[in-house]
Symmetry: C2
Subunit: 188 residues, 2 copies
DNA sequence: GTCTATAGCCAGATAGAC
DNA sequence: GTCTATCTGGCTATAGAC
């Protein structure tokens, strides 16, 4: 390992602060000063860890990807059947309905926003590719030849519902749709 | 009518330019100079029509709402049954798959972005409420007691698919899902 | 490695001549 | 009503002492 983590974990604190701030305020409106203050790091010191703001964005995406990997792996370990896994993921996501109603899906809104950024990192699409591929593998394991289509439908329903729940600031909308999606997974 | 429209239609040009720029670049990254230049209006003159940037955002939303109203009214006039209307709207939307793959759904990404803006206009949610209520009325006319749930599912699928098509820059994804949604409407 | 001070830039908004 | 010139503030990024 070439880079040793500073004892204080400043880098980790900065990334965590950036994740939260960018989710709540959006990428563009989040300033380096916001992040530095939330992480309790002096502004100038941020540049020791990240050369540009875009590097922070990249780190935020990578943090989301790592979290998604860990979450999906944990679910695969905990549930034996693909159907149970799919339902577990979706119910886990909709437990955050309050957060989503207030600020939207952290990964979805990041995708939407970064796509308009001329210099947005190319990894952005991974935020959707990872869960999409995972869901497609589960549907394949269920023997569905249209696994990919079903995965698209599942992810689209989640993302679209998150968008609506956020627009109306209504967590109930998210929970209601989550219940209907669970029925759908059972029926597929 | 208290305000007479200037003969040159500068205001209309500004709103149209703002609509396009904000769809393509996002609200935050669109500057008044961008809008003024695209509309061929000198920068300082913009402030004669709009006191603040937020006023332009409001006008953009109102333009989208007016367009949606006109579109839905036209479809209601052209198709007799609710089922045909729902399919017509959805197929109309997915004809713009190239545009959506490049920049996302104009109304969806606007909702997502404006919700993170502290001073975002309250009308924002209308962008989703109008089509949602309209779809719910169509499902009601089909005698469905769960009309509202079905409307949420329909709009969520559209918005979610638009987000994915944009993330992957894949118009085909939008078209494929549109075809599957059409089947779903027939089966409901 | 850490932090202060500040450079440099660019956006939103205004003043005021015409 | 129209337009030029400019003010003001905030943000990214850097310089350089410690």
């Amino acid at each position: 390992m070439t880079n040793s983590v500073p004892a204080t974990g400043k880098r980790a604190r900065l990334v965590a602060a950036a994740c939260q701030a960018m989710h709540q305020q959006g990428v563009e409106k989040t300033t380096l000063a916001d992040i530095a203050q939330a992480a309790d790091v002096p502004l100038g010191n941020v540049y020791y860890y990240f050369k540009t703001k875009n590097d922070i964005v990249r780190a935020v995406i990578e943090a989301h990807l790592a979290e998604a990997d860990a979450m999906l792996a944990a679910i695969e370990g905990a549930y034996p059947t693909p159907r149970a896994r799919l339902k577990a993921v979706f119910s886990g996501l909709s437990e955050q309905s309050e957060l989503i109603a207030e600020y939207g899906c952290p990964r979805g809104s990041l995708c939407t926003e970064l796509d308009k950024r001329a210099d947005g990192p190319e990894i952005t699409a991974e935020l959707m590719r990872v869960p999409l591929d995972w869901a497609a593998r589960q549907f394949e394991a269920m023997g569905r030849p249209d696994a990919r289509d079903l995965a698209v439908e599942l992810l689209a329903r989640y993302q679209g519902t998150a968008l609506l729940a956020n627009a109306f600031h209504d967590p109930g909308l998210m929970e209601r749709e989550a219940a209907r999606v669970a029925e759908w997974i059972d029926a597929v």
